[in-house]
Symmetry: C2
């Protein structure tokens, strides 16, 4: 008597049938089914899977307190963005969500509306204005707008060991009574995800580039509404169609306008050229 | 415009379309397709997937030079055994294969045919006899038979730190001109896979036991034939129907006979009861 591959798949699925937690049971059984289907479809060999085991092991060993290579793997396989798209509120009229990414921190400095949050970050000046509204069009006052971005050198503050705990191009602002907010920062630039680990090797081996198009992160929270985690991308970026983490959605590409030195929208006078960008965010009610 | 989850899956699959290596391209595209299908089928949430990321990270951190938790994960999800079953030669009349497992070493001590390889391992005496043949029924002389097993306490020699590099219940024997081999060892007992890591936690959380039924490992190699990696299981073991790594195949359950003290088949006289087991191995030509 010969046991078929299908019999092994069936036995592995059945082994989870006694799990007490019905959701865990569902997830493990679906995982086994699809994992085995992948192996069967490719007729994966034991030698190939040993290379996979070594890849996963190296990915685990790359993870420490400041680096999460498995999140990077999930991001570069499109899984992180798939989960965002499956669960976001865009289908109810809210602004589309995108990936949180690994550079959010819980300690963005609270700043008055209209502040300059660049704090010495290199880059051309950028003045961002926005409004936060409900899907019914009502202004959302006192919403918190958490902002973080890379600078002109493609680095976040947390990637600059010389900064220690100083925050740059990062801040937390509240909307005013009309749901408006504004801040000065720097023009974001495209940057590569870390390529010195197993995920970078995977990208290189498969002919993929490691670049993310220039963007600014937003995490917007208002009472009675679902928090919105999204980016605004810089229009014209060469990587908009090939973001290594599949985070770009056309509705999230912002219009960035360049201006010569002179008077800015907030009344200040700039002695160098600067940029402006304006966007309206819509949050879904809980 | 709203991007659909399917559009993200399609983009992630397409991102591998320029891979130079066609096999790697096929594997990565199939992996992304099935990984995304798993997430879509379960409507996996970002919080659930973060628990998954943490599980994978802990699994990587558990791996070191003597412990491979990702192989254990692959084994307990049935993937290792699926690959064995997909590729083994049983469909051409050869003995069925099963998983190699993590306890094979390249330095089993070469011993004369008929030797006692137990070397002090605790357990009841067992005398194993076997033949190695081709699928055409010809005896395979001078085949190498690599044997390893757990002892009566469920431990392999390499799991006993007090042994250092001493080998117990492990040996390498050559078949004679008629393809026959024999050795003395100890009766194997069931044992649990390591449960002190993330995989053990996964088994516990899903109501699965960690036990493998008692077995002896064989790796048999003969010129002109594919190496056979298999086990012989002990009939009557309570875990034959629920091996935690899905390695049992009915054709691999051996008949173990118990005998009272007295004369053994090799002519020796035993002052305590002992066991015998006989099996015929068939190798597939390359």
């Amino acid at each position: 008597m010969t046991f078929s591959p299908q019999a092994i798949t069936d036995a592995a699925i059945a082994s989870f049938s006694k799990a007490d937690n019905p959701r865990l049971k569902q997830i493990m059984q679906s995982l086994v089914k699809h994992l085995h289907a992948f192996a069967a479809e490719t007729q994966l060999t034991e030698a190939e899977w040993m290379a996979g085991i070594q890849f996963l092991t190296a990915t685990g060993h790359q993870c420490d307190e400041v680096r999460q290579e498995f999140i990077l793997l999930s991001d570069t396989l499109g899984l992180s963005m798939l989960l965002v798209a499956m669960h976001d509120g865009a289908k109810h009229g809210a602004t589309e969500a995108t990936v949180l990414g690994p550079f959010h921190t819980p300690d963005a400095p609270p700043l008055p509306n209209g502040s300059d949050l660049s704090n010495g970050a290199p880059g051309e000046a950028l003045y961002v204005t926005g409004r936060v509204k409900s899907a019914q069009g009502e202004a959302l006052a006192h919403a918190s707008v958490d902002i973080w971005q890379a600078d002109a050198e493609g680095l976040y503050d947390v990637q600059r060991s010389e900064l220690e705990h100083e925050r740059r191009a990062r801040g937390l602002i509240q909307t005013d009574a009309e749901g408006r907010f504004a801040f000065w920062s720097v023009l974001p630039e495209a940057y590569p995800v870390p390529t010195d680990g197993p995920v970078g090797q995977m990208l290189l081996s498969t002919g993929r580039h490691p670049w993310r198009p220039a963007h600014i992160h937003f995490l917007i929270a208002a009472e009675g509404h679902q928090p919105l985690v999204t980016h605004l991308f810089r229009e014209g970026d060469q990587y908009l169609d090939s973001d290594v983490v599949f985070g770009v959605r056309p509705s999230l590409v912002g219009s960035f306008a360049h201006h010569a030195a002179g008077k800015a929208p907030d009344g200040s006078v700039r002695d160098q050229g600067f940029w402006t960008m304006d966007y309206e965010f819509v949050l879904q009610a809980v």
